[in-house]
Amino acid sequence: MKSIHVSTTINGDAAEFICAPDESLLDVLRNRLGLTGAKEGCGTGDCGACSVMLDDRLVCACLVLGAEAEGATVGTIEGVANGDTLHPLQQSFIDHAALQCGICTPGIIVAAKALLEKNPDPTDTEVRYWLAGNLCRCTGYDKIIHAVQDAAQKMRSA
């Protein structure tokens, strides 16, 4: 199997890697680039734990080939905070105890950030449907919805 050389941009920085033709972007991020913030909960696009941004679209990294990142821009949870300043969503998740085990949290924060960039003032129902592809087994989602809405409110008034 011939490896493919890929040049891409990850969290604003140029990055290069080689990968197998059938290797997922998730495996590349985790195993080749050390970006383990995106998690593999299922590998089939059913849990959302590997949510990342690809050319400004929210996607499951497990459903993208590493080779497809050529020339693209990739955003992961590792790029959500601005240096040592947490993103309002990150702070809100801590403040609202919107995580228990935390394994789904990176994916949910990436997904919620994509929502608020598109729709800064969503209804609870819109938040719930947008995040329907992000499974959380610990919280029952209640505090997640509160955390997203509180961050949205803070971002609107910032």
Binding site: C101, A132, L135
Partner: protein, 746 residues
């Protein structure tokens, strides 16, 4: 020095909601879970699994796999130590099948190779020859005399003669004269129920990294609810001494009981031993569903007699559980919990466990209780409906309370059931109007809660800060709660404390994070360790002041003379004592180890409104409120989180989650697409009402809270749906096809 041993009731830190210490790591993606670490020279391993529900292993030829370039080790059951102990042998045989494969997905060989692709390719080169055997996956079918026998010779002495060899245990609990009780009833309802096996559904698949060196020393990194238990089990299976195996618990991506045992950890160690290289195994989601532990599946009969004014006169339940292909004691807990919410003069529960060709059960939140209580609470609700009685009134009238002889034997001390029922009664949810097509259901729930072996160290740093070392993986914010209790006891602020979770070489044994035990037991040990450190600090202060140790007390984070006779000295704070500790006798530390008892049972009541689409059988959950006696809530946000999360897992169990087996005995839905856990858009807000009935067994009144919340949703949903559609449903999950079928019959 002297301690005030009276239970503490006024708190500064306990009961507040500080940020959890691992919060930033977890919102930035920095926290390291099971699959997130690597080692130099690491191999990747994959596991060969049975395609048969039941088959004898005739032979396993691994030679071609071993010859594949890049393959560094292949292991089978032959690579593990023989076990005399039944429990250990079962865990080991579940990790690697010995003579028979007992379920679809049962492991029988594993390969470690330089890349995952090579490891997978090598699996295809392993020639396993099977002799397929008849299988059975249904618990009632497994109990029939002519059922295929999953394992011979596994029945305990408690099993009556003449039953299928699949029946491994039998239990009976209760008291009183059932016949007289039923004779006194105005109405008797007797129903049969089934519940499907469900999976804990943690989002993080099992993962581990093992590294053993040729001198027999090993390190194991894994996601587990109990690193000490992993060490005990793995050391036995590998024939190692415990001291030579250090197990570090990674951050854990959910467990709910499912990570209280081992599946891949001994396999990774065996592969590492054989290859001389570090070996990593990460399960796929498919493997998690097929080969880790779901709950028991069940078939239950319940018979309850009631007077026309709502007094239960007699109650009986027969529980048939299957914990899969290995003996399982979960039915004992179901049988004890079934009627725990009631004060009964005549009660009897009988339980049987039967072997089936399904994966070995692992604990899942209040194991055994949700199924039994679902059946009981459904029959109570039907009695209320038929007698025209208010279901909360009836539960209050029959509620267990302090002094009640419980259905499982002991007499209850302070319990919060009545307060919980009264809170539900007073809540606006209970009297809110319902539209046509909607139904309201409720159920009580119960769990025992446990304590267990616990060991905590607390170190006072010279800068006045404190480090706590505990041994239980933090599955939902426990580090925050432990730090809060230490801050409370020491009288310092929360942010001066950092709590970490030790590996097995850094602390004495701690039981697994289970049984809702951590905030209770580790919290208690932390309080005692803090008191130990305080005693030492008081002693240092006494020597500095030149007064008697007994003349010093600890107040508000400082040592001070006990009274005017002790001398006039300004208080010395923890930081001041710590700063001079090297001059006054050396480092200051507190420690405590014990086997905690007195966890205190917990009751909850759930209220739910649903709407059923009569043309499609779809159920929409409209409103949900959880009431629970939590004892003192140390960090109320995480207590609420337990209540909400448990409720939603129960909603999934009630409506959609199930293990579906085909006629071939193979699992049909081993993925999150068709094993349908609730998604955010399925749910309404989950409202919580915490009642704080102090647990007399804990100085702060703490009770375990994590397990009870999964118990009531099953019956609460079933009762709500049954009332909404006007027909009673007696099987879980209440999937749309089942509801539509009931509607067409009803």
């Amino acid at each position: 020095m002297a301690f005030d041993n009276a239970p503490k009731r006024v708190f500064k830190v306990v009961g507040t909601r500080p940020p959890r210490p691992d919060g930033v790591d977890k919102v930035t993606g920095r926290a390291l879970y099971g699959a997130d670490v690597s080692a130099p020279g690491m191999l990747m391993a994959h596991i060969l699994r049975s395609p048969h529900a039941h088959a004898a292993i005739v032979s396993i030829d691994t030679s071609a796999a071993e010859a594949l370039p890049g393959v560094k080790a292949v292991v089978t059951a032959a690579d593990f130590a023989p076990q005399d102990d039944d429990f250990l042998r079962d865990v080991q045989d579940n990790c690697m099948a010995r003579d028979k494969v007992l379920y679809d997905g049962h492991a029988l060989a594993a390969v470690a190779a330089t890349t995952p692709a090579i490891a997978k390719a090598a699996l295809r080169l392993i020639k396993a020859t099977y002799n397929a055997l008849p299988h059975v996956t249904d618990v009632d079918a497994a109990m029939r005399a002519d059922a295929p026998v999953v394992q011979e010779g596994r029945s305990l002495e408690t099993v009556p003669d003449g039953m299928s060899p699949n029946v491994t245990s039998h239990c009976e609990f209760g008291h009183g004269d059932l016949a007289a009780g039923f004779a006194a009833a105005d109405l008797i309802v007797e129903r049969s129920f089934t519940t499907a096996a469900t999976h804990q559904g943690y989002i993080e698949p099992h993962a581990c990294l093992a590294s053993m060196t040729p001198d027999g020393k090993a390190d194991l990194w894994c996601c587990t609810q109990g690193q000490f238990n992993v060490r005990t089990l793995c050391a036995a299976m590998l024939g190692m001494e415990a001291s030579q195996l250090r197990v570090t618990a990674s951050e854990i991506g959910g467990g709910f009981g499912g990570k209280t045992t081992v599946f891949i950890e001994p396999v990774a160690l065996a592969l590492s031993r054989k290859s001389g290289r570090p070996v990593k195994i990460v399960m796929s989601r498919d493997e998690v569903f097929k080969a880790t532990g779901p709950t028991v599946s069940s078939s239950i009969d319940v018979k309850i007699g009631m007077t026309s004014d709502g007094r239960i006169t007699a109650a009986e339940a027969h529980l048939r559980y299957s914990g899969g292909a290995f003996p399982c004691g979960t039915v004992d807990m179901g049988a004890q919990a079934a009627f725990a919410a009631y004060d009964l003069s005549a009660v009897r529960t009988l339980g049987w466990n039967a072997l089936t060709n399904r994966p070995k059960e692992a604990a899942y939140r209040a194991p055994g209780a949700p199924q039994a209580i679902y059946a009981v609470e459904s029959v109570v609700d039907e009695l209320c409906q038929k007698l025209g009685l208010d279901p909360l009134d009836v539960r209050l009238k029959n509620a267990a309370r302090k002094g009640t002889k419980s259905s499982y034997g002991p007499t209850f001390d302070d319990i919060g059931l009545v307060a919980t029922l009264e809170a539900a009664m007073a809540h606006p949810h209970y009297t809110a109007p319902l539209a046509s097509g909607q139904g309201r259901g409720l159920s009580a729930g119960f769990w025992f809660n446990f304590g267990g072996n616990t060991c905590v160290s607390l170190n006072v740093n010279t800068d006045g800060t404190v480090g706590i070392t505990e041994g239980n993986p933090d599955i939902g914010g426990s580090r925050a709660a432990i730090s809060q209790m230490a801050a409370e006891e020491l009288g310092i602020s929360y942010d001066k404390i950092r709590t970490i979770i030790a590996d097995t070489s850094s602390l004495g044994h701690n039981d697994v994070t289970d049984g809702s035990r951590v905030t209770f037991s580790v919290g208690l040990a932390t309080i005692k360790a803090a008191q130990d450190a305080v005693a030492k600090m008081c002693s240092r202060a006494a020597r500095i002041w030149g007064i008697d140790e007994d003349a010093v007390i600890w107040h508000d984070g400082a040592a001070m003379p006990a009274g005017p006779n002790a001398g006039k000295f300004p208080p010395m704070t923890l930081a001041e004592i710590a700063a001079v500790s090297f001059n006054t006798g050396g480092p200051i530390a507190g420690h405590y180890e014990f086997n905690a008892d007195g966890a205190g049972v917990s009751f909850g009541v759930h209220l739910v409104d649903v709407e059923v689409d009569r043309e499609t059988g779809a159920t929409k959950v409209l409103r949900y409120t959880v009431f629970q006696d939590a004892g003192k809530a140390v960090h109320p946000s995480y207590v609420e989180g337990q209540m909400q999360g448990g409720a939603v897992q129960g909603i999934g169990w009630a409506l959609n989650e199930e293990y579906i087996y085909g006629a071939d005995g193979r699992l049909q839905n081993a993925g999150f697409l068709d094993y349908r856990v609730p998604v955010a858009s399925d749910l309404p807000p989950i409202e919580t009402v915490i009642l704080e009935i102090p647990n007399p067994g804990h100085p702060y009144g703490v009770r375990g809270v994590g397990e009870t919340p999964i118990v009531p949703p099953l019956a609460a949903l079933s009762n709500a749906v049954s009332r909404a559609i006007g027909t009673r449903l007696n099987a879980l999950p209440m999937s749309p096809p089942r509801i539509l079928k009931a509607l067409s019959k009803g």
